[in-house]
Amino acid sequence: MKERIEKILAVAGNTFKECVRHRILNVLLIFAAAMIGGSFLIRELAPGAEDRALIDTGLALTEIFGFLTVVLSLFITSYEEFEMRNIWITLTKPVSRGIFAAGKFAGICLTVTVNTLMMLSLLLLLARINSAAVNTSFIAAALGILLTLYVSAGFTMLFMLTATNLTTGTLFSVLFYLIGHLTQNLKTLIASPKTAAAVKFTASVFYYVLPDFAAFNFRDQIYLSGGVFHYPLLLKASAYGAFYALACLLIAGFAFSKKEL
């Protein structure tokens, strides 16, 4: 068990180093910082709700750039591994493909955590400069973004490791990310008494297969509950995120172990 953990850590560290040093990802981070930095301009468009406009725009940009970091990190590392066949050398060492996948997932999560925390720190700084109020909902939103990105890393990993080519993998990941923000509507459809049984069943299947990012939208939930943050909600959402990412990782590990390199 100890050896397995050490190998996972070695792969994770290697992936993290590769990602943080890559020029494209550095440019992406600079661009993200510029965009978040520019979000104070949005304030002017929302008289009376300047603070909320600044924070909301900043958080939305953080999530979008976080997702781009996930996709680009996995694309770049997978390109070097599969297209340039670097993985042939790695996988002829005593490391199973499942452990390699787990290490890579951990490395991507670490990369995206560092990048997201940097973006959030910038946003906090901007809020401070503009004397915008930052409260519990900011921290809750930050946790929600991180959970969204970990789940995204799970399914992106699944698609990148199993798709016949990386472009297809990227396309599926982007589609899943977009759909994941709409799956809450399926819940409404399932709950409606007017919906036919067959449609309800199909919608339920889709609901459980697709990610539901609304589960991580703690900010709206705080707003709806009158500014109170219910911690069990965070636990429930974290459990859901962990389960979803783990399921993706297990499927990715299994499919990858059967893949011909």
């Binding site: 050896e3 050490e6 190998k7 070695a10 792969v11 560290g13 290697n14 180093k17 590769e18 040093r21 890559h22 590392t77 070097e80 340039m84 066949r85 670097n86 042939w88 050398i89 790695t90 996988l91 002829t92 060492k93 005593p94 490391v95 199973s96 452990i99 011909e260 390199l261």
Partner: protein, 246 residues
Amino acid sequence: MDAIITKKLSKSYINGNFWARKKSVALINVDLTVKEKQVFGLLGLNGAGKTTLMKIMLGLVSPTSGKALVLGKDIREASNRKNIAYLPEMPYFPRYLTPREILTFYGRLYELSNKESKDRAAEALQTVGLYKRADSKLREFSKGMLQRVGIASLLLNDAKLFFLDEPTYGLDPLAAKEMRDIILGLKKRGKTILLNSHQINEVHKLCDRIGILHGGKLILDTPVSKIKGNMEDFFVRTVKKYERAD
């Protein structure tokens, strides 16, 4: 003991679209035995199946039928890969890492401690003459230098069995000679080597035994000592004779 045994090993690939599938055969019933401490040269034209055979032996690809045992074990099991080392044709490494980092990483996959991995990486880089560039980014390296890093990666785990795919490809004459010396050094130390090469004279100099793959079939398996005359002529004669008979 036999280092490598393949029995009736066959491999076919399915290519094309879902509605227009094509089957291409890469290997047909390959029976091959490589003894311990032997240097075995695998020769063949492009597309003969040499790389596929090596990939099956390394566990990168599964055979369609038949079996392959490496050091008496199924190599697809990760723990059975502790005693092997592999150098692909034109090795490629993550561009933003340094040779020291990538070799330390490989050392850790071989279950060496962090310190031991670092020490062995430094030692291996010293052996291939890259110690002074140990902390330069790999993207700054030439093809020949990357090949040297690949060679250094072979020296990390004191492997018993080496798989070398075109080890002198892209190397200048001096580096190619150094590579041959490294292979001879491994041979002297009693290591088993499977060498896949187009350089027939190189195979002649280094190997104890050769196998010729043609159209996915192993058409010849013979000791080098039994080959009379020029090795290149012998290879061409064998392939043409087989083609006429087939």
